[in-house]
Symmetry: D2
Subunit: 126 residues, 4 copies
């Protein structure tokens, strides 16, 4: 499991006084990228070889709102590895309290946007 | 069912050449707002009375990517009405092709962020 | 002069209760795109020929804030045409009141991100 | 002078392959907030006392584009302190190269959105 720490600024929030619900998907992108980097997987390098990961599915639960100036911890772990897809489980916590959790499925594709088996070294690294 | 038409600009896309996955949640917010307005429900007026709707859950499927300069149709319908919550089903289409679909649960809350029964006239309008 | 009408949703605002200051640049992008389209200039088609316009400079004045559920009019006009650049003057108004105004310089570039003379038919259309 | 380091992810970019021009204003907000915090000025605490800073003016120059996976340094310094306003000069650099620079004027306002003299301790801290 990997944890990314993130501070909340005005641009993250909306006039309801809380973090806008779509913005958590940005934090989850950042946290997955850092998780993969820690495992030796560089998405930019892969993309230059024509291998991309795209999001196929997100199931997200909003339990409690984050607010301006909060410091959040975004945890990331992989819960399933298939031939062409990865399933992540991620949580947003503030001082240990779970605010948001999400299950995300990424699919490995080639430059024609077609599903493509993940390179063997990626599967081994994970 | 209600349909919102939406054009895609640079700010909607990412360097993968497609619409960024979090941005569909913005279009879904816009489309739900217009759907409710058509039913005579004004979220701003409700908010001034201390009644808010917050997103509790989103299950979203990405089937095919939208791109720069696309014109998208966002359809919205309500699939379940409970005492304190509403379930929406929404789809993003381009020329009739389904690109993205989502099920979203909204919860009615009061100004202390606690669940609150929906006003009776809202339930009747829907 | 061309005018784009735009409604404000939650995702446009921040927890200060007003439209977030960076978001006006998105509306200006949209309004410039529509202005150019009305003049017969299609940015997507140009981009497929390796001709792009990038923003070189923005001077923006914030006079009064826009808020949730506002309907805004974004006006766009061209104030200067040079060999490789265009200068736009744009205003955001609500019920005739000027909220924000901006002067923006766009530079015509080729696919190597180098300045490139604007195609002659573009200059004629403008 | 204060420097904030920032990594670029997909959500920062657009389909032109570079960071979207409005997003630099988000990084500048983050960097100003951290600059002020280092000077002992907490914007959240001030806001709870009815003292806010709003952006009145931004002049921004885009010299070269930032791209996906870049690590950027955002420098911030104050260039003018007046009774009700602050002027910042900020730069985005990558490996020492200046990509973007901006001059921003912030105005101190009260909860009625009217200009308000800055508290004396803020002026002293700066």
């Amino acid at each position: 499991m990997s944890v990314l720490t993130k501070k909340i600024y005005y641009h993250d929030t909306d006039c309801g006084g809380v973090v806008y619900y779509a913005n958590y998907l940005k934090y989850f992108e950042e946290a997955r990228t850092e998780y993969l980097r820690e495992k030796g997987i560089d998405l930019k390098e892969l993309s230059s070889k024509g291998i991309l990961f795209v999001v196929r599915k997100v199931d997200i639960d909003y339990k409690a709102p984050a607010r301006y100036a909060d410091t959040l911890d975004i945890s990331t772990e992989i819960t399933r590895i298939k031939n062409v897809s990865l399933e992540f489980f991620q949580q947003v916590k503030r001082d240990g309290q779970i605010l948001v959790s999400a299950k995300t499925v990424l699919v490995c594709i080639n430059s024609e946007f077609q599903p493509h088996p993940m390179p063997q070294d990626i599967i081994e690294n994970l």
